[in-house]
Symmetry: C2
Subunit: 141 residues, 2 copies
DNA sequence: GTAGCACCTGGAGTAAACTCCAGGTCAAGA
DNA sequence: TCTTGACCTGGAGTTTACTCCAGGTGCTAC
């Protein structure tokens, strides 16, 4: 498979695919005798994995380390497992934070829907009153 | 409240707090006659909201727009609601993607735990065989 | 009234993750 | 064989979201 085909298949630019290989986000891609990339099933597997992990916000740094360990063979299995567990934990944490934000967004939207906006209207009213007071003080001068 | 106190309270650097105000991620913070920021409840509310949204990955751009709309008053209520809904939808999408990655990570970890690594071992075996073949071809030369 | 520390502004610098470019090869068709 | 379009590499540029800095001002305590 050429880089253009892979680019289309996974919706990742050719530049990004070359970049990923160059920084070690995947093992070297097989080449034709002329030096042109010829992606095989394994390469595609790596691309798909990295696309998935990157979309989830896993740092490139960690993924590079994983690939490096993978390339060192079976002696690194424990280290790889630890790395994955660490990333999983971070992912779970991030998702929990996002859930909080989601709840909050939903709350806010609901309030807009009800035309209530209690908190904000209250705060605005408070602000307006403070400004009115200030204005009155100025008038007294 | 001084910027140092707010910084500590929300665990956001003073530089970031100034930056947030400067780019319009929150309305202007009240000042002392000397020009020093004096955060009130409302400012703190904005900071907390923005911290929450940013942690969830909401783009600063969208948040700036929200604040701008908010400052234009009640006529922008519909636009603000739409903006929030859009951000909520994006958040939901991102969380779904993250869940996919999480499932995948969990799968991988489980396979490491079982010492199976079926897919990868299979791929490696395939690769080794390809290389062996190549080596044999070379020997024939 | 001055030492010293927190705060101010505008602007430059940084990190992560791409993205683009120049100048050069490869390969398939006329 | 020549053209043309896809690919190559190394390196520079871009975007987002901060982070740092220089040079200056505002309080507070001696």
């Amino acid at each position: 498979m050429t880089i253009a085909e892979v680019s289309k298949k996974y919706d990742i630019s050719a530049d990004t695919l070359r970049y990923y290989e160059r920084i070690g986000l995947m093992p070297p891609v097989p080449r034709t005798p002329g030096g042109i990339r010829d992606y095989d099933e394994e390469s595609c597997g790596w691309i798909e994995l990295m696309k998935c992990m990157r979309r989830a916000g896993v740092q490139i740094e960690a993924l590079i380390e994983y690939v490096a360990l993978f390339q060192k063979g079976d002696v690194t299995i424990d280290a790889r497992k630890e790395l994955l567990i660490e990333q999983r934990n971070q992912l779970v944490d991030r998702m929990a934070e996002m859930q909080e934000s989601l709840d909050r967004l939903n709350d806010k939207i609901e309030r807009y829907e009800q035309g209530l906006m209690t908190k904000e209207k209250l705060l605005q009213r408070m602000k307006q009153e403070r400004e009115k007071e200030k204005a009155e003080v100025s008038d007294d001068e």
